[in-house]
């Protein structure tokens, strides 16, 4: 019995640490209930197939949010161009998947697309971080990269922009992208509809837990050190450009996975994923949820995207065009009123309710609130 308990403790030790919110039994209980509720959601009689479909898309987008949380929230590199890796991977998946539409081919397309997305991030990261590009300049380069891709893909309408069977399609985008499938030869799992919903839910939970282990590991500590004080971290002998590069590459791979899920979900991709509106969305999700919290990134993605879907039908007298007014207003309000985002706020409220700080929270807490306000 003590052996079993020891195993749970060992797992929790890896998952919990100063770099994550939610290091308590209470958190894990709520987390388990939330995951179970999401798992039960498609089974409920009040859930329409359309609801399942849209929620599946939010799961795909949550990977994009996690990628920005790692890069910006944990390493302090604000990338406005995470959509670049997302979109490049989506297009790569389309090109490979359309040309090799067997299960093996689509499996290869998945891994190929993630590798291409991650390699693209690594290349761009190497170019920037080893060249001493810092702060807002990184933000600007990443935004410009997305803009370049947006402009470039929009003009690929002609027949000369066909790779094998796959036409890039310019403004109209690439159609007939296959469903996600894993398998070799005749044994294959094809994921669409409810199948894709569960596949992405499982992958999302697994990725979330793996990232918790990452950010609480030795390397995660170094990422946070780079975010807090780059120069001092370098003085202690850490290779700051390398830390940034690795984090940026992990972020690129996560965004790339999101792009593949997005493209296989809609069987479609077009240049708007590189556009300025789409590029803003991850920043909105992560800022609102709390950029230094992985659970905030995921939660805010699901909630904000659900809200945007709801708003496309209009709310009362407000038409769908109000969706971006509300999203933009929400972003401004969060930055002005609670710069840390919602999850740190919830964390503080819960901790206060339970009387005193929960163990393990103190470290992440101090960086959030300004000391002046605490003593006042």
């Amino acid at each position: 019995m003590s052996g079993g308990l020891g195993a749970i403790d060992r797992v929790r030790n890896r998952l919990e640490g100063p770099n994550t919110y939610g290091n308590s039994g209470l958190f894990w209980a709520v987390f388990a209930i939330a995951v179970l509720a999401l798992a039960a959601y498609p089974l409920s009689p009040t859930t329409s197939p359309f609801d399942v479909l849209t929620t599946t898309q939010y799961f795909g987008l949550a990977f994009l949010a996690l990628s920005l949380s790692i890069v910006w929230g944990y390493t302090g590199v604000l990338s406005f161009g995470q959509v670049a890796f997302f979109g490049v991977a989506a297009y790569t998946f389309g090109v490979i998947g359309i040309n090799f539409s067997s299960a093996t081919g689509v499996t290869a397309a998945f891994f190929g697309a993630v590798v291409v997305g991650a390699a693209f991030a690594a290349l761009l990261g190497y170019f920037m971080f080893y060249g001493g590009v810092r702060d807002v300049y990184v933000t600007i380069i990443t935004l410009v990269v997305a803009m370049v891709l947006n402009t470039f893909m929009a003009q690929t309408a002609g027949s000369e922009w066909t790779i094998g069977e796959a036409a890039l399609g310019g403004f109209n985008g690439m159609t007939n992208i296959p469903d996600l499938a894993f398998g070799v030869g005749d044994t294959a799992f094809v994921f669409d509809g409810v199948g894709l919903y569960y596949a992405l839910l499982v992958l999302l939970v697994a990725t979330y837990l793996a990232l918790r282990v990452l950010v609480n590991s030795q390397f995660g500590m170094t990422m946070v050190a780079v975010r807090e004080d780059e120069d001092r971290t370098a003085t202690f002998g850490y290779n700051v450009p390398f830390v940034k590069l690795v984090s940026f590459t992990i972020g690129g791979a996560l965004a790339a996975a999101g792009g593949v899920f997005y493209a296989s979900w809609g069987n479609f991709i077009d240049p708007t994923v590189f556009g300025i509106l789409f590029a803003a969305l991850p920043v909105v999700w992560v800022s609102v949820g709390g950029r230094e919290s992985l659970i905030g990134a995921v939660g805010a993605t699901l909630v904000i995207e659900r809200m945007r879907t709801g708003l496309t039908d209009g709310v009362g007298p407000l038409g769908p065009e109000w969706a971006f007014v509300i999203v933009g207003g929400l972003l401004m309000t969060v930055i002005l009123v609670m710069p840390g985002g919602i999850v740190p706020l919830i964390d503080r409220v819960v901790a206060d309710r339970l009387g005193g700080r929960l163990p393990g929270l103190a470290g992440s807490e101090t960086s959030e609130s300004s000391p002046k306000e605490d003593t006042a």
Binding site: L143, E321, G328, M332
Partner: protein
């Protein structure tokens, strides 16, 4: 002159006019953003929407502003007066935004980007909701000049470049020769000391932001008759070029804007005249990325570093 030489002259002229057009666009799109960034440390990602406010203000004043809740409109104004209205509307808009939002964001560079990005979304959408998907365009004044097989618009290729150079000159004088300029620079350099010397720094921030907004409004007013369709998504075109030019130029506002616009405009013009608008834009953005990699502090940052090294060697 041989036929071939004449054709060469025509082609050279075409590149020159293209350069002037691109240069003016870069300077005018950038200058408001550069002042707010260079002097206040706030990156205003809603800058494109500030310009758009100037465009809309001008276009609405020119065509006759609709009166809310009434089936009537104000009479249309002549273009120059409509432009003044556009600038004034943007200044008022900017001051309201500074007092409500921006003043919470000083010294929070990344937060300022994120919050103003949200602001840009809101403004663009509100323009869409209020005025529909496009406004009637205003025809470009001043006509065209024709040479050989080419034509260029006088307004964009001659008038606006002249205006942009005059504007930079005027700003230089404003910041070096007037009391406002001295106080503004003191505030930027060291707000604490400036305050101790009796400068109302809060007021300087509002005025600098109002100046930046006014310049955005002026850009909008000047481009209202040169944009073609006036749609709520045009802000992002200005933003991307301005954003790139500011960082390529570096911290010094006027010299930075001038050098970045010169350099980027040069590459844009060469490639555009050879391969078309799309290639020109791509070339400019790629040059900007490479430049940022080589000169992480921008052109003026690099010049400053070289100057300091020389001084140290002496």
């Amino acid at each position: 002159m041989s036929l071939l030489a004449t054709a060469g002259v025509y082609r050279g002229l075409a590149v020159l006019f293209q350069f002037l057009d691109s240069f003016a666009f870069l300077v005018l799109a950038t200058v408001g953003l550069a002042i707010i960034f260079g002097m206040m440390g706030v990156i205003n990602l809603a800058h494109g929407e500030f310009i758009l406010v100037g465009v809309y203000g001008t276009a609405l004043a020119f065509h006759g502003m609709p009166i809310p809740f009434a089936d009537a409109a104000l009479p249309g104004l002549p273009l120059p007066i409509a432009m003044v209205v556009g600038v004034l509307i943007t200044v008022v808009f900017g001051v309201i935004i500074e007092r409500t939002i921006i003043r919470h964001l000083y010294d929070r560079l990344l937060d300022s980007m994120v919050a103003t990005w949200g602001l840009g979304l809101v403004v663009a959408q509100l323009l869409l909701i209020s005025f529909g998907s496009s406004l009637d365009s205003i025809s470009t004044p001043m006509g065209n000049v024709a040479y050989g097989p080419f034509t260029s618009g006088v307004y964009r290729s001659v008038f606006l470049p002249v205006v942009s150079v005059l504007l930079l000159g005027a700003l230089y004088l404003l910041f070096t020769r007037t009391e406002f300029g001295v106080k503004a620079r003191a505030t930027i350099e060291d707000p604490e000391t400036a305050r101790a010397m009796g400068v109302d720094t809060d007021r300087m921030y509002v005025m600098t932001f109002a100046l930046g907004s006014g310049l955005a409004g002026l850009t909008g007013a000047l481009y209202a008759p040169a944009l073609g369709a006036i749609t709520p998504d045009r802000g992002s075109i200005f933003l991307v070029e301005a954003f790139v030019a500011v960082v390529v130029g570096g911290p010094s506002v006027i010299v930075g804007t001038l050098s970045a616009a010169g350099l980027l405009g040069f590459f844009n013009a060469i490639v555009t005249s050879q391969y078309g608008t799309f290639a020109g834009l791509m070339a400019m953005l790629l040059v900007a990325i490479v430049l940022l990699r080589l000169l992480p502090d921008g052109i003026t940052g690099y010049v400053e570093k070289v100057r300091q090294r020389r001084r140290a060697e002496q």
